[in-house]
Amino acid sequence: MKEKITNIKQDLESKLTDITKLSELMDLKIIYLGKKGLIAELMTALSTLSTEEKREYGSIINQFKAQVTALFEDKISELKGKEEEEKIKKETIDVTMPGVEFQVGGIHPLNKIIDEIEELFISMGYDIASGPEIELDLYNFEKLNLPKGHPARDAQDSFYITDEVLLRTQTSPVQARVMDANQEKGPIRIICPGKVYRRDDDDATHSHQFTQIEGLVIDEGINISHLKGTLEVFAKKMFGEEREIRFRPSFFPFTEPSLEVDVSCFKCGGKGCPLCKNTGWIEILGSGMVHPNVLTNCGYDPEKYTGFAFGMGPERIAMLKYGISDIRQFYTNDMRFLNDFNRIDGGDNNESK
């Protein structure tokens, strides 16, 4: 019996060394450890032995079975490992080959700027207002303290459709319409973005169509300090926390006092550079206190209410921010131009100090 066991073991060991395939190994395992396998056979053979021998050999066979099982388990895991390795080897790819190219869409750069401004003012409680682009002379000019024959009408030569109807030259008529429509004549806080049109020949810095954003706040007790505080928030949000603003008195027919607003240069921080023409400041918007005639024209009592208004050009802001030199780029829609803006801005992280 012992001899038999030794033979079986030797035979198995040599067979196991030769075996390379998991499937063959599994077949071999059945031959040894199967229900009718060699080990089972040995167990069957026990029945012919004496009780004492049964006990002795029984334990030997059991030990042997455990050994064989362990041998098989080792071999199985060895072969499994090898196969897995081969499988991975076979499946290994060149990770440097190109990935799939998706068409990527993006928001137009001007709209990105407009969105950013809108979100800021919405967060301060402003509503977004809109109005028609084909506008009445009444709203575009007359209610805004620009009666017929006013010299300032020359400066913004307009696309007229009839004597009384034109393409709006500014988004200010939206203000007049909102004030006019407000039955209670109570407070107003709005931002009006939109397309405007002027009779200009298109060149690098002029466009017959462009966008504007106007803001209007009307309430009791509104003053220039409030205008300044509001625009400071705007300047910091759009151009960086360190930005400051300054006022230069100016003249607009619809505001009195009227103020041009400069923002400290976001490129050089105010030290002077080509972008700010060495002044340290960049002209960004026009603003002022709503002219009492405008309030009166739109049904507000200037003795009770005051307000401020401001207006800016998203094109100019985008051109300054992204370094675009030709305004026509916005309307040409060269895919290469548009695709340049198909990513997050990153501006907040690399602001100049």
Partner: protein
């Protein structure tokens, strides 16, 4: 408005003031400037005395000069025709710089040494439009008082500095040195000086020989004086130089004086040759088609809107705009009749628009201080007496219909502080008014301010507030936030809808574009499927920008063409914008969405992945968008072969809730060189369709059963027709239908096609048995067979 420091200094003491600093102060008082320059930027120029001058032996043009330049005598070669012995000239010494980055060095000309350069005014950078013929062509000859070796630029007064202001339209008062002096005076707290006007008058009063007759209300003030026996000659240097600094060409002493006084007072004057005018002067509206030959020798045809100065018979000048040729002051003029008047701003504006915009007309347009009209007239007499040897005749012709009420504005201290957001006290405000030279009193907390007549721009309280802000400095205001009720800001639902659509489309790989609303008439006719009245610009700049578009498709097609021409083949874009039309008396602006797709949507060439955009790509995008907007199961697509400029066999209407909301398909191949797909959707209409809120539904826990079927049908039967029958017969157990194959070809008859569907059955509350599914499935098959004359395609 160009302001010379030397000129301004006559009206306010500013010699000690840094002119750059003054310019900056003016900016923060509301007066921007374009530039600060000197009359010449040349340096190191001295007065030279030409001691000897002889012709160069080898050159016809050159002269050899020995020039005394103070500390030495040098040889200079000069090519000017007017160089000669014993004259004083401007010499650029070795090392001198001239405008245009020229530095003078030692030079050899035709073999002879030259140690410097004798200069013309052109070489000093004086624009030739200001110069006499002789000064343009030769060197400038200084008067004999000039001392050799002294600074020539200083001697000429060309070291004067000039600020070119860009004034706002309301500040007519700053179009004069006097006005500027008041403004600078307010900033520097200095007083204004008035020029001399006192002159001895002689002879019989002008009123006994001349008569003026104003016959229009467009002239509120008309005054005249007569100066006899003037000598026409060159103006003194200071007048010429100051006119040049002001951007005005010097001509002769008489003409120059009229311009000079205008620069001083802001009151345009007109000089008539008294001997050509006669003694009756009429101011009236022009007759229709009345003709007048103006100074520039053009015949002007006038109408009732123009104001003219006329004699007994005819117009002799176009009031406020341009004189007439027949009464012009010439070199032969002896007696001058001077007009100083105020004309209606609007009328001058209209006339000057037709004729010419001049220094004079632009001042009339903006408004004249009527209190200076007589004074300017007297000043011109004073100057004609002094610099043209004229005899000023007694008396003045005056027509005065001005309304000389002084303007008084009341304003409280509270109001001032309330608007400015400052905390000024009474004295600070009084100080500002004093600096501005406004008369002001204060009682019962109210300021009573008398506005001087020069400040036509100040009419209301807010104007005064602006004055205080300007002088105190708006940058002294500290920023704060308005204290107001708290509310959330919002955009309109429609605005939000458009943003949602935009974000979905960019996520699907489309780029947002922005194009012009104004297009050509030709493009305005493209892709238009309904008659509409165009919105047309009455006076367009170009034909390309004439009509307000009624479809966005032609605009996006232009974007496609632009990019395609630059070899960009993959173009996926959209625009959300207005489409414009007119209906009876109202103008309509409808918001539309337009998509354009062409080229590759998805690719990786080495993997043979290449999704070329076709009809079904754009259809997939539209479906994706409609599902996103909550319209699942509410839309269908109906073939439409009559859409303008679209491919007849590859276009369809987009129908939601039985309403056509737009169309899509391939652009007619006449219009694009490659397959281009577009869609246009009426967003206003789509927005008006109600969409219910998202509602949670139980997800079925039970397995689904899938059955595949392929029908062979006539080619005219659409997939939608088959699906309709399947849906109707399938009932509530039929959960989903997917098309997984379509076949046309050898195995079928010519007019047949086969479409294969995967039908998915399930129930939320239980596991279905195969038998019950088969019952439904068989019903579906026979329904399709019967209704659509279909038969099953056997597996082969």
């Amino acid at each position: 408005m160009k302001v010379s420091k030397d000129f301004l200094n006559d009206f306010i003491e500013i010699k000690d003031v840094d002119f750059n600093e003054l310019a900056e102060k003016m900016v923060f008082a509301g007066n921007e400037y374009e530039s600060i320059t000197k009359l010449t930027s040349a340096t190191n120029l001295v007065v030279g005395h030409v001691l000897q001058c002889s012709k160069h032996p080898e050159s016809k043009k050159l002269s050899i000069c020995l020039v005394d330049i103070g500390d030495e005598k040098v040889q200079i070669l000069c090519g000017a025709p007017n160089v000669r012995e014993n004259i004083k000239v401007i010499v650029a010494k070795i090392g001198a710089t001239l405008p245009g980055n020229i530095t003078i060095g030692k030079a050899k000309l035709a073999g002879m040494e030259s140690n410097g350069m004798i200069c013309s005014l052109v070489e000093l950078g004086i624009e030739s439009k200001y110069l006499k013929e002789e000064d343009k062509n030769g060197i400038y000859i200084l008067d004999n008082n000039a001392e050799a070796g002294t600074d020539a630029v200083q001697y000429l007064g060309y070291d004067d500095e000039v600020i070119d202001f860009e004034l706002t339209a309301n500040r007519a008062d700053l179009l004069s040195m006097l006005g500027m002096a008041y403004e600078v005076g307010a900033l520097y707290k200095r007083n204004v000086k008035y020029p001399d006007t006192k002159v001895v008058c002689q002879g019989e009063d002008i009123n006994s020989n001349y008569q003026i007759n104003v016959k229009t209300d467009k002239c509120s003030l008309y005054t005249m004086k007569l100066v006899k026996n003037v000598t026409i000659k060159e103006s003194p240097n200071f007048i010429k130089r100051r006119l040049m600094a002001s951007g005005i060409r010097p001509i002769n002493n008489v003409v120059d004086i009229s311009n000079y006084v205008m620069m001083e007072y802001g009151q345009p004057l007109h000089f008539f040759d008294a001997d050509k005018l006669g003694n009756y002067i009429e101011i009236r509206e022009a007759n229709d088609k009345e003709e007048l030959e103006t100074l520039d020798k053009n015949i002007r045809v006038l109408d009732r809107n123009d104001i003219v100065i006329a004699d007994v018979k005819k117009a002799v000048a176009l009031a406020g705009v341009m004189g007439g040729l027949s009464t012009e002051v010439t070199s032969e003029t002896k007696n001058v009749l001077i007009e100083s008047a105020v004309f209606d701003a609007l009328s001058i504006r209209n006339t000057s628009k037709k004729v010419i915009r001049s220094e004079a007309s632009s001042r009339f347009e903006k408004g004249i201080d009527t209190n200076r009209t007589r004074e300017a007239l007297e000043r011109s007499c004073y100057l004609l007496n002094k610099y043209a040897d004229g005899t000023v005749i007694n008396g003045m012709l005056v027509y005065d219909n001005t309304n000389l009420e002084t303007k008084t504005i009341m304003i409280s201290l509270n109001k001032i502080n309330d608007v400015l957001g400052l905390d000024l006290n009474k004295n600070e405000v009084l100080d500002v008014f004093k600096r501005l030279d406004f008369i002001c009193s204060f009682h019962n907390h109210i300021f009573e301010v008398t506005v001087p007549s020069r400040r036509l721009d100040i009419t209301i309280k807010e104007d005064l507030i602006e004055e205080i802000g300007r002088i105190i400095g708006f940058n002294n205001v500290k920023g704060s936030m308005p204290i107001s009720y708290i509310k959330s800001g919002k955009r309109s639902p429609k605005d939000k809808y458009q943003k949602d659509i935009r974000n979905r489309l960019t996520a699907l790989g489309l780029n947002q574009t922005l194009t012009y609303s104004l297009i050509s008439e030709l493009n305005a006719d493209l892709f238009i499927n309904e008659d509409y009245e165009k919105v047309v610009i009455s006076s367009p700049i170009t034909d390309d920008r004439k009509v307000m578009r009624n479809s966005l498709v032609s605009s996006l097609l232009e974007v496609f063409k632009y990019n395609y021409a630059r070899n960009i083949k993959d173009i996926n874009i959209f625009e959300i914008g207005s489409c414009y039309s007119k209906k009876e008396d109202s103008y309509l602006e409808k918001t539309n969405l337009c998509l354009l797709m062409t080229g590759t949507y998805l690719s990786n060439n080495w993997q043979q992945i290449n999704l070329q955009i076709d009809f079904y790509t754009i259809k997939g995008i539209i479906i994706n968008l409609l599902n996103y907007l909550g319209f699942d199961n509410r839309y269908q697509f109906n073939a439409n072969d009559s859409l303008k400029d679209m491919h007849q066999g590859r276009s369809a209407d987009i129908v939601v809730d039985h309403k056509v909301i737009g169309y899509f398909g391939q652009i007619n191949s006449n219009l694009a060189k490659t397959e281009v797909y577009v869609a246009q959707i009426d967003l206003d209409l789509l927005f008006s369709l109600k969409v219910r809120q998202v509602k949670y539904k139980d997800i079925s826990k039970y397995p689904t059963i899938t059955k595949d079927v392929s029908f062979i049908v006539d080619e005219k039967i659409s997939s939608m027709m088959i699906i309709d029958v399947i849906k109707k017969t399938g009932g509530r157990l039929l959960n989903k239908i997917e098309v997984f194959d379509m076949y046309v070809g050898n195995y079928l008859a010519d007019n047949e096609k086969a479409i294969a569907y995967k039908l998915i059955f399930s129930d939320v509350s239980r596991t279905l048995s195969d038998e019950e599914v088969m019952t439904v499935f068989n019903k579906i098959i026979s329904a399709v067979e019967t209704n659509l004359n279909a038969h099953l395609r056997q597996k082969n």
